[in-house]
Subunit: 377 residues, 2 copies
C-alpha cells in the first residue's frame, strides 16, 4: 500500500518492529516490514558495529533506530555520572533484598563488576553522540522512547532528512510532541511491554489522532498489544498509519531472549504481563515472575528505586537468574522475566522474524476480506 | 449485515447498548441497534413497569436485559439479608469518612432512609424473580454482568429460546462461561466503565476468540472503550461479532446522567477514567473526582468496603453530591462521578441516542472504505 508514512519510510507494509537485536531488525526489513534497532545503552562505538552488521544483512532495505532520552531521572542535572558512582548510591536494603531473592532461588550472585566500557545508563550526552554515529549509516527513522525528544535530536533529524518519531501514552503528551516538531507519533497503549501509560490502545489511537489533527498532519502509529495482522488492521481501521510492535519479536529465534523466556511466553496469558516498577524504576510492563512479585508484594520489599538506579540492581540479578535457569534451576526459571506486553497471551509458538512479517501480511488481508464479506452478506 | 449473532438477536447492525435507562434502550433499538436494559437492583414489579414502557416505545424492535448475579459477595451464603441489616454492618470509620467528605464540600447529608421497597443490592433470588418477570415481555437476550450465570439463568434462557450472554474480562473466565453453556460472550477490556478486569480490549478479544474456538462456536462481542463506529469496525476486523457499548450512551439526553456529569464527560480525557474500588467495593472504572481521589489516596481513608456494603455508602452520598452540584455547588461538582470507561476521552458533545446509532453506522462504513482504499492505492 502507499501512504504518507510508507513514503516517509520507503516501505509498502507499515509494520514497524522494535528490537534490541540486530538480527530481528534486518530480518523484518528484508521481509518487507521496517526494523527499528533499540540503541539505548549503546556507545557510539557499539552502535557503529551493530549498524554495520545490519547494513551488511538488510539487502538495502530501510531501517531505523530508537534511543531513550528520558526527561526525568534521579541523575537529572548532574551531567556525566559514572556507573560506579551510581552503584554507590544503591541503598543497602535494596542491595540485600536482591541478594536474598537470588540466594533463596539458589542463583549464584552475579560476579560481573560494573563495566567500564558500557555506556552509563540513559545518559543524554551519550545518546546524542550515539545518534551522530548512527547517521553515518543509512537510517530512515530515529525514535525516542520516552518523553519529548531534545531539540538537538529533532534538529539532527531535520538536518539529515530523517523523520523523528516519539512514543506517547497520553493525548496530552502527543500534543506536546507535535508542537515540539516530531514527524511521527507512536501512540502506545497500556497493554504494551516496557514503559507504558494507562490508556488502552483502542482508546488512545483515536484520541491522539483527534487531538493532534488541528495542529499539524502527523502520521500516528498504533502500539501496544499488537501481535497479529488482524490487530494491525483493526488499528488502521481507526485511522492509524501503521503498527509499532515489540513483544511479538521476542518469540522469534533471532531475538535476544532465552529459550526459557520464550517457553514462558508461550505458557503465559495476557494477565501475566504486569505493569510494575521493579525493573527500571518507572512503570514498565513485564512478565510476572518471583522477581516482580517479591519486589511488589513481599512485606520485606524496600520498594523500587528511581530510574536509573533500579536497573543497576535488576539487570545483573536477572542475567544471573537467566543463566541459572538455562542450567536447569527451576526456582531461577520462576524468577526469569523480561519486558513484554499483554499480547503475550496470543503467543503460541516460536516463529522466525521473516515468517512473522509474512503472517502479518496474510492476517491483515484476511481482516480486510472479513470486513468486506460481512457487508456483502 | 447478516451473521450468526444478527440472526440470534434479530438485528442487522450488531451494536449493543447497555443502559440503565429505558429511553436509551428503546431509542437504540428503534434506530437499528440493540438496547439492553440494566435491571440490576430492580424488583419484579419495577422491571415489569420498565419493560412495559419499552414495549410501548420500541416499535416492535428487539431488545434485551442485563442483570448482575455476582459469585462473590460479603453476603454470600447468607440467603436473604435486609438492606437495613446490611446498613448496620457499615463500620463507623467508613460512615464518618463519607459524612466528612460531604460536609467538606458543603453537601447536605443524604436524608433518605434505607428504602424498604427497593430490592436489596444484588440479591441472587431477586435477580432470578426479576428475570422471570422479564420473560413476560418479548426480550431477545439476557446478559449477566459479573461471573458465571447461575444454572437457573441458563435454563430459563433455553426454556424461552432466548440467548444468554455473559461478560468476561479474562480468557480463563470465557472458557468457564462457554463450558457452563452461555450462548454469547462479551469480552470486556480494562478500558470499560464499571466493573472491569485488567486486559485491554485489543488483546482480550482475539485472546478469547482463540481460547473458546476449540470448545464451541460462540459469538464474541467486543466491549470496553468503544465509542465510535471505527472502533466497532476495528474490533470486528479482529473477529468480534459486534460491539457491546455503555459509556457512549451516558452522553445522550435520554440517559440517566445529570447535565453536570455530561459536561464533565466532555471535559475529561481518557486518563480521567480510573479503576478503583470506592463505589462498589470491586474494581470499577469511573470518572475521577474528589470522591474517588479521597477514598483512594487520603491518608485518613479507611479504604473501600467489600461489595455490597460500599454501594450503601457511596450511592446515597453521590446522589446528594449530584443534587448539590445541580444547585450550583462547585465543590459538589468536583465530587460528581459515575461509572465511565476510558472512551470518555473521545466524547466531545451530547447527542441523541438515535443519532449515535446513525453515527456508528456511518463511521463503520468509513472504516471499511478506508481499509479498502489503503489497499487500492
Amino acid at each position: 500500500m502507499t501512504s504518507q508514512l510508507c513514503d516517509m519510510l520507503g516501505i509498502e507494509f507499515p509494520l514497524l518492529a522494535f528490537s534490541h537485536c540486530r538480527d530481528v531488525v534486518a530480518a523484518v526489513s528484508r521481509a518487507g516490514g521496517f526494523g527499528v534497532f533499540g540503541a539505548t545503552a549503546h556507545t557510539p562505538e557499539t552502535v557503529r558495529e551493530e549498524l554495520k552488521w545490519i547494513d551488511d544483512h538488510v539487502d538495502g532495505k530501510p531501517y531505523g533506530i530508537d534511543v531513550l532520552v528520558p526527561e526525568n531521572m534521579a541523575t537529572r542535572g548532574e551531567g556525566s555520572v559514572t556507573a560506579a558512582a551510581l552503584e554507590a548510591r544503591i541503598p543497602e536494603a535494596h542491595r540485600h533484598f536482591a541478594e536474598r531473592l537470588l540466594a533463596d532461588a539458589d542463583v549464584p550472585p552475579p560476579a560481573e563488576p560494573v563495566s567500564r566500557n558500557r555506556a552509563q545508563p540513559f545518559d543524554p550526552e551519550t545518546a546524542l553522540r550515539t545518534l551522530e554515529a548512527a547517521f553515518e549509516h543509512p537510517i530512515r527513522l530515529i525514535a525516542n522512547a520516552l518523553g519529548v525528544p531534545p531539540p538537538e535530536m529533532i534538529a539532527m533529524g531535520k538536518q539529515h532528512g530523517v523523520p523523528v518519531a516519539a512514543l506517547v501514552g497520553a493525548r496530552e503528551h502527543a500534543i506536546r510532541q507535535v508542537e515540539a516538531g516530531v514527524d511521527i507519533i507512536v501512540a502506545q497503549g497500556t497493554e504494551a511491554g516496557g514503559h507504558c501509560g494507562e490508556v488502552s490502545t483502542l482508546v488512545l489511537v483515536p484520541e491522539v489522532i483527534k487531538a493532534i489533527r488541528p495542529i499539524r498532519e502527523v502520521p500516528v502509529l498504533a502500539a501496544g498489544g499488537i501481535m497479529t495482522g488482524q490487530q494491525m488492521a483493526a488499528c488502521m481501521a481507526m485511522g492509524a498509519a501503521g503498527a509499532w510492535t515489540g513483544s511479538v519479536w521476542l518469540a522469534t529465534p533471532e531475538s535476544e531472549t532465552s529459550p526459557v523466556f520464550r517457553e514462558k511466553m508461550i505458557a503465559a496469558s495476557s494477565r501475566d504481563a504486569v505493569r510494575v516498577r521493579s525493573r527500571t524504576g518507572k512503570p514498565a510492563r513485564q512478565l510476572k515472575s518471583t522477581w516482580t512479585e517479591n519486589w511488589e508484594k513481599s512485606p520485606d520489599s524496600p520498594g523500587a528505586l528511581p530510574m536509573p538506579l533500579m536497573s543497576l540492581i535488576s539487570e545483573k540479578s536477572l542475567r544471573a537468574a537467566d543463566r541459572a535457569a538455562e542450567a536447569g534451576n527451576d526456582k531461577a526459571r520462576d524468577m526469569v522475566t523480561y519486558f513484554v506486553g499483554q499480547g503475550v497471551g496470543l503467543v503460541d509458538s516460536v516463529r522466525g522474524a521473516g515468517a512473522v512479517v509474512q503472517d502479518f501480511k496474510e492476517e491483515y488481508l484476511e481482516a480486510v476480506e472479513r470486513m468486506n464479506s460481512l457487508l456483502a452478506d
